[in-house]
Symmetry: C2
Subunit: 217 residues, 2 copies
């Protein structure tokens, strides 16, 4: 049974980066790549690259490196990118539009099958060629279509209620862009894409670099 061979969390976060770099190497016509080269291009230590990759594949060839085609496919399998994941997106604002319109996610198996909003002005319209439905229909539709992934791009105040609805409809994974910590049952996975938090860490570093501000504080 999968899941028992559990993989370290930091490793899991790096695997998609390797995957992306490998795809780019392949497009550049490369056939093999060494752990050093992969590390250089992805910003990680070469020993770490080897250790990470060994969690999923031990097909590297001493003296040669990793066969890009095979490793790429192996990573895609491992990450589940070959499966198509149907998702419901709630929140037809600008961020929702950006996510729904981005073609790149298709290569990661994401298929946004329905878009919801609570604004009567938006309901009935479209978002990237998908009809915008009333959020009242979310539970029913998600359940009927067997949707397992939910994407939340609503304002902070509305996010918890949307998450609750998703959970009750059987959604198992939530990609949350609302700036709140969602409370969900522990069998539901939430990934917070907290942009403001990312911004704050940059802000911290800029402050550290700024001689004037530092002199004053």
């Amino acid at each position: 049974m999968a899941g028992l061979v559990s993989i370290p969390k930091p490793t899991l976060e790096r695997l998609p980066v390797y995957y992306r770099v490998l795809v780019q190497c392949r497009e550049a016509g490369m056939q093999y790549v060494s752990s050093s080269e992969l590390g250089r291009r992805s910003g990680f230590d070469n020993a770490q690259v080897r250790k990470d990759l060994n969690h999923i594949w031990s097909g590297g060839r001493p003296g040669l490196g990793y066969e890009i085609d095979k490793l790429t496919s192996c990573l895609a399998d491992f990450l589940g990118l070959h499966n198509t994941t149907d998702a419901a997106l709630v929140g037809a604002g600008r961020l929702g539009a950006a996510l729904a319109g981005y073609q790149g996610f298709a290569g990661y198996g994401l298929n946004i099958v329905a878009v919801f909003d609570s604004d009567p002005e938006k309901i009935g319209g479209t978002l990237s060629e998908r009809p915008i439905l009333s959020v009242d229909k979310l539970a029913d539709i998600a359940e009927r279509l067997g949707i397992r992934m939910g994407i939340i791009t609503v304002p902070a105040k509305a996010a918890q209620a949307v998450a609750d609805t998703m959970v009750s409809a059987g959604v198992q994974a939530i990609w949350n862009f609302a700036p709140v910590c969602l409370q969900v049952p522990k069998n539901v996975l939430v990934r917070n894409e907290d942009l403001a938090a990312g911004l704050a860490t940059l802000s911290y570093h800029l402050k550290e670099l700024d001689p004037l501000t530092n002199a004053m504080s």
Copy 2:
């Protein structure tokens, strides 16, 4: 000199989460919060909360907890959120529009002062009330305005060139939404907001949960 009292990276990632939760507590009218309560609301262990907070402030009161007003302000100071950061955004697509239009970043000191694109159709138009300028002017304008932060929302292929221009214009921190690993001098900080990578980790977990897929593989 700041920077020498360096803070663990995982802690730095959690501080903005505490900050956000604290702001929400304050809005809810609370005055004090304990490490347990803060932990519960942000998803971290209470001992970890105390340890993290002690890096920046030892003003917690045994038996009472932390005074929300003081801790919030202390965190904002530490993270540099009280400073206004002027930023240049390059890439006036949907994601750029979402970021430029999001009011919430203002509370984090972000001030997008200029928007650039390479598409002649877009140049001369506006994005959230800001004129869209030719990317050819990026270096000149960033330098003249002393811009220290760059936001990249261009397609992967164009991102490295934009980063190079930013670096040459004196930008010190780059918020990168393009799905590439940027190569920059080590004195420039890059934060990759790699949405596809986040998606991939969700995809992995869904695959792990799926009995049918697992049976087949």
